[in-house]
Amino acid sequence: MPKQTPEERRSNFCEVALGLDSELAMREAKRCIQCKTRPCTRGCPVEVEIPEFIALVAEGKFAEADAKIKEKNSLPAICGRVCPQESQCESLCTLGKKFKPVAVGALERFAADWARENQPETGCEQDISDDPPVCAAVDRIERPSARIAVIGSGPAGLTCAAELALMGYRVDIYESLHETGGVLRYGIPEFRLPKAIVNQEVDYVRSLGVRIFTNVLVGTTLDLNEMLAKGEYQAAFIGTGAGLPYFLEIPGENLNGVYSANEFLTRVNLMKAYRFPEYDTPVRIGKRVAVVGAGNVAMDAARTSLRLGAEDVKIVYRRSRTEMPARLEEIENAEEEGVQMFLLTNPVRIISDSKGGVGAMECIKMELGEPDASGRRRPVPVAGSEFTMDVDTVIVAVGQGPNPLLARATQGLALNRKGNIEVRDEYGATSIPGVWAGGDIVTGAATVISAMGAGKRAARGIDIWLRSQS
């Protein structure tokens, strides 16, 4: 897929991957051999009918291709951009056994983008009154009377809400922040997922009749059990995400200039600090940045640092390249842009510059020992290998735990040892009857698409349960 050159893109926030044009897309779609076994579909957590939509692209029926995807996936422009296709659909492609697999992700993105640019907007404004908006976008037979509350407007919540709306239910989404989208908005940077795309996908979900209420924290502003007990809602889905950053727990971590990746990215993405002082929220980036961790979030933070003007950006990771959890494409993008990799390196302490800021970071070299519980080889410090890294900003991107707000305020909601919500079946039923959960709040930090898959399964579970109730 065509991209902005590294030189160009490291100084702007515009999208890096430029997408296929219709000619390229049709040519790529024609590579699909339409095999009978359809292994690609088994790799898709939301069950997109991949060969069918690709056949439509090959015929130049782009609107139909988009509609085909949307039968199963409410957020195709997002999935086309951020799904790890290389380990899902594309990894199973029959063609991929001998040649390059069909670029399913690029085609999905193409179809969704084409529809966005070439089709009239659904133009469905949210109606704040009690009656759900009537919308031409969906042919609705008779609405079941049940109302469902979805908590969190990230990928899990949006998907669950869209699925339920398509089944005909009345769905309200409650979002704690002032903007919709969850991690799609505050976490993933503009250059990887433009916010205009997120807006468009959220508008699509609204066009299905879903209402979205921002600034409402279920757990504090409203009580989930009360919402159900009062009969306002007959069922609920919790998709509140992984919202409590982990730190390294090393000395110096509370110095000025040490950010969690969440704070750093939220300032830049949600609050638009890269446009300070036009926007009021500031972000301070130094010249020499160390990003600790090697997942997609770490790559996002490193590449954002470059775009904010950092001269020297290092990824510091305690394991080796093979274990880096980020997508290969993101690692390559980061390296092309000039991010340096300090692998088998672990921070020991952050040293003050005597003014309360970061002066340097002491690290130790690591080597890989025996496999640990995760199956990856455990990194062990190499005695005497300490060295000092000259940095003035440290961004900690070592994962996140579950946010405690909803769970601690919701009586009867069973959690596991780590504080994630415990689910009882494949649909995500929780310990509270009528309440389902899915996404990072259940699994711990994972991918957008796995959260969407969970949202979709929960919608199915809710439907089955509601039918059994009536």
């Binding site: 922040l177 600034n215 409402v216 502003t221 409590l244 000025n256």
Partner: protein, 283 residues
């Protein structure tokens, strides 16, 4: 939604706002805060709830103009609306029957202290409140404080009203008079809370402080508001904002509060230029 029903000037550049936020008002407790935004380009500003009225569906906020964002709030009038109000956030202050409590407030810290001392009085504690300010004109909410307390001591740094000196001086006098004090709650500038804790530590009086760390989301998501309490890192927004004052690392808190000072100054200067000078002395 989030309309300003009333606005009152309490002191130069200090505003009291009554804001329509029925869902927040219904579940607010002493010690809770809200996050507000004034416009689409605005910061998320944490403000402690100074009073709440579930029946009217309103919360009361007291805001001092210190930077661009609080100046924006100062420019708003009754009838205007906030873009966003989210809450109630933070843990409610643990308020138990202990005997005699002393509420110590510095500057506009008296506003968030009010709902706490009201509840203390309601559940049967004897409430002594010490309110300090630089000078007489900056003492706010005097009547409300008198009503919510059994005894009140006002203190001014320049001696223009009440006790001449800092709140810590007034508190130490009380202690030295042999008054039984079972608990102290201190709310105000970091150095004032620190000085209060240094004093009460000497006399072994349990002391609660309400921390105003820098925040972004205010829901535990970013970790910007982390503070060291008893050697452990806590998030003020979800673990606090109230903590055992004897365990708080105030120097770290003060340093972290100053991290964005340059940016804050720049934003304020630009805003002042745009408005043709600062407005501190108007009205």
């Amino acid at each position: 939604m989030f309309r300003i029903m009333e606005k009152r000037l309490l002191a130069p550049a200090v505003h009291q706002l009554v804001v329509e936020a029925p869902l927040v008002a219904r579940r607010a407790r002493p010690g809770n805060f809200v996050i507000v935004r004034t416009n689409e380009a605005g910061e998320r500003i944490p403000l402690t709830i100074a009073d709440y009225d579930p029946e009217q569906g309103t919360v009361m906020l007291v805001v001092q103009e210190v930077g661009k964002s609080t100046m924006d709030i100062g420019m708003m009038e009754a009838g205007d609306s906030f873009t966003d109000v989210a809450g109630p956030l933070g843990q409610a202050t643990p308020i138990k029957k202990v005997g005699t409590i002393v509420g110590v407030a510095g500057g506009i810290g008296v506003a968030p202290l009010l709902p706490q001392i009201k509840l203390h009085k309601e559940i049967g504690n004897h409430v002594i409140t010490i309110v300090g300010a630089r000078t007489r004109d900056l003492l706010i909410l005097k009547d409300e404080t008198e009503q919510a307390s059994h005894e009140v001591i006002f203190a001014t740094d320049d001696g223009t009203f009440g006790y001449h000196g800092f709140v810590t001086g007034a508190l130490e006098e009380l202690i030295k008079q042999g008054r039984q004090i079972d608990e102290v709650t201190a709310i105000g500038p970091v150095r004032m809370m620190q000085a209060t804790c240094n004093l009460t530590r000497k006399y072994n009086i349990p002391t609660l402080v309400s921390l105003n760390a820098v925040m972004v989301d205010g829901t535990g998501m970013c970790g910007c508001c982390r503070v060291t309490v008893g050697g452990e890192t806590k998030f003020s927004c979800v673990d606090g904002p109230d903590f055992d004052g004897h365990k708080v690392d105030f120097d770290e808190l003060a340093s972290r509060q100053a991290f964005f000072r340059d940016e804050e100054n720049l934003a304020r200067e630009l805003a002042e230029q745009k408005r043709g000078g600062c407005r501190c002395h108007e009205k």
